[in-house]
Symmetry: C2
Subunit: 75 residues, 2 copies
């Protein structure tokens, strides 16, 4: 029983043609899913490639975004 | 040939005991890896669960962090 969190305007985030970031709820816990999707019979379905982060893990990633950006830009 | 980007202080980010966010370089392109690791013979090795984002995809995720946070916090 997995369902989308309600009232989440702007979600899912389309990262590329087949990648999405979204928030879901599983067993009463919210998760941030960063995942590849594939098309089956006209529907986009979640694929294997991806990761589901806890709110704490997402928050840590968010707080580290500047360090990551720096490493991406470094000569 | 995958190597860590140099001069990336603060990386890898430890998201949990077995999850890391890091920047690597593959064929001249940098990637943000958000991935699970496992221990083998005392070494932490990257596992299958995870995703490697392009700088553009990471940037989009970063710019969407407030929307995601909002969905995580929504009643």
């Amino acid at each position: 029983e997995e369902e989308d969190a309600e009232g989440s305007s702007g979600l899912p985030i389309k990262l590329s043609s087949n990648r999405r970031a979204d928030v879901s709820e599983f067993k009463g816990k919210r998760l941030v899913n960063i995942r590849e999707y594939y098309e089956k019979e006209g529907e986009m379905l979640p694929g294997k490639k991806g990761i589901s982060l806890s709110p704490e893990q997402f928050n840590m990633l968010r707080e580290s975004a500047a360090s990551i950006q720096e490493a991406l830009s470094a000569e």
